[in-house]
């Protein structure tokens, strides 16, 4: 922890105990789901420097890769970074060593969900879950059913109320509706069963 003195108090790596036991197989387990070529990383930080959402991250993308390599899954899987990643693919595109960084972020999200690790921004995971639920319902996603369900269940509606922005959002929704931008009826497909079969049982949370 050479640069622990420079780390912010909130930085997840700064919360690590001084004696740590790395999970030396973590890299192997992650790569088995890829390959993502994480071990090819030489820490040039091109991913972090080009990342549009690094300002909202607790670990920078290069730090995530480093922690995967040294085997600290708990720090990585509890981080905000994996959820804040917008999957814009800038990092993967620019990596000089062909590390599939954005794809690795997805793998870490899925691993965190499977291990039941709570998402530090639950409303981001809710968005994915409720989207897939709507997809399962119709075979396509209908914004008219998906968006209201999301706003209600994720607590975003309550947040808007607390931030005094609910009025403006309702007005915007009303304008959208008047402009004919919400489908009145969901379209359902014949292959709904196939789609449900692909998605399997709902992800446990």
């Amino acid at each position: 922890m050479a640069d622990s003195h420079t780390l912010d108090k909130k930085h997840p790596a700064s919360m690590l105990p001084e004696t740590i036991t790395p999970d030396v197989r973590f890299l192997q387990q992650v790569e088995a789901a890829g390959p993502f070529q994480a071990s090819a990383c030489y820490q040039c930080r091109k991913c972090t420097n080009g990342c549009p959402v690094s300002f909202a991250m607790d670990l920078y993308p290069d730090e995530v890769i480093r922690l995967v390599i040294v085997g600290l899954p708990q720090t990585v899987l509890h981080s905000q970074t994996i959820w804040v990643c917008a999957a814009c693919e800038t990092c993967t595109t620019r990596c000089p060593n062909d590390v599939k960084i954005a794809e690795l972020m997805d793998c870490l999200k899925e691993t965190a969900v499977q291990k039941g690790i709570p998402c530090p921004h639950p409303q981001i995971l809710d968005l994915h879950n409720i989207f897939l639920k709507d997809l399962k319902r119709w075979g396509r996603v209908c914004e008219t059913t998906f968006i209201p369900e999301y706003l209600l269940r994720s607590g975003m509606l309550r947040r808007m109320w607390q931030a005094h922005t609910l009025g403006a959002e309702i007005k915007l929704g009303w304008r959208m509706g008047r402009k004919g931008r919400f489908a009145l009826l969901p379209k359902t497909i014949k292959g709904k069963k196939e789609v449900r079969n692909i998605l399997g049982r709902p992800e446990k949370r």
Partner: protein, 288 residues
């Protein structure tokens, strides 16, 4: 010319304007769109984030349905859908294919991002031949977002840091595409619902730069970008201490305008930030 067509879910809802403008201009360009029968949602960000296998298989199912059609080209207007279809065909054509519970059919059509298709030499020529009202005086920046170009290993995009498709189309219509550095910077996409603060930050930067380079409007080919840039300008402007009023046009709407296709005004009436006043100032009056 007959082609297969995969509109995707949002073109049946909030991006109705994009859907209508595509139908309108394809008729004028002699392209007959045949929708993939019984297509399903590609899974989008949700599936690839937390259910990788499903993300590939969902897009794979739609690809297999397209392979049963007699067409050699599949047009995809939504860059997210395009990216997911390309990702599925990439993943299912490799050694790792046995991880997935779906086998890709042979005879898949070529999967095209709509803007890239309409920027091929042949289509640009057809577009030029159908011109009625050149869009002279219109100064815009083109904004591609992420998914049509990145990662190039999947999208097969040539010029992924400085794409040209929209610029070529815009110039071909007689308008000016101002060069700028933010063509492929992310707008935050679906985070508009879960982390609107992130989207405000990202989109605010785009407005700020568009203003600095002297653009009158922003031209897009992605309905998520369009929604994020069009719907919250007043709010984001207030957060930046500025007033932004950029019309955010789909490139297909501009083609429709230049071709005098009927319906242009109806498409534009679905926008939130006023798209009409600028056109009126430039004496570009679209058909109702």
């Amino acid at each position: 010319m007959k082609v297969a067509y995969y509109p995707g879910c949002s073109l049946e809802g909030t991006a109705k304007d994009y859907a209508e403008s595509i139908q309108g201009i394809c008729a004028s360009l002699g392209i007959e769109l045949e929708e993939i029968p019984d297509w399903n949602c590609c899974g989008a960000t949700a599936a690839h984030s937390i259910h990788h296998r499903a993300g590939v298989e969902l897009a794979g199912r739609t690809l297999n349905l397209a392979s049963q059609m007699p067409h050699s080209d599949l047009l995809v207007p939504c860059p997210m859908c395009f990216n997911r279809l390309k990702t599925a065909s990439w993943a299912l054509n490799r050694d790792s294919a046995n991880r997935y519970g779906i086998v890709l059919q042979d005879s898949l059509p070529s999967v095209w991002d709509l803007a890239t298709f309409l920027a091929t030499d042949a289509m640009l020529q057809t577009t030029a031949e159908n011109m009625r009202t050149p869009l002279e005086g219109l100064q815009v920046v083109s904004y591609y977002g992420c998914m049509a170009n990145r990662p190039p290993e999947i999208t097969e995009a040539d010029n992924f840091e400085n794409p040209q498709a929209l610029d070529r189309i815009i110039q071909n219509l007689g308008a000016t595409a101002i060069p700028w550095a933010y063509k492929t910077d992310c707008c935050g996409a679906s985070q508009v619902l879960s982390r609107p603060d992130i989207v405000s930050h990202l989109v605010g930067k785009l407005y700020d730069m568009a203003e600095r380079v002297g653009a009158q409007a922003i031209v897009v080919s992605c309905q998520m970008c369009q929604a994020n840039l069009d719907m919250h300008q007043e709010k984001i402007g207030a957060e930046w201490g500025k007033r932004f009023s950029f019309p955010v046009y789909y490139f297909t709407e501009l083609i429709g305008l230049a071709h005098n296709v009927s319906g242009v005004k109806r498409w534009l009436s679905r926008h939130i930030t006023d798209p009409i006043s600028l056109l009126e100032q430039l004496n570009l009056r679209g058909n109702p």
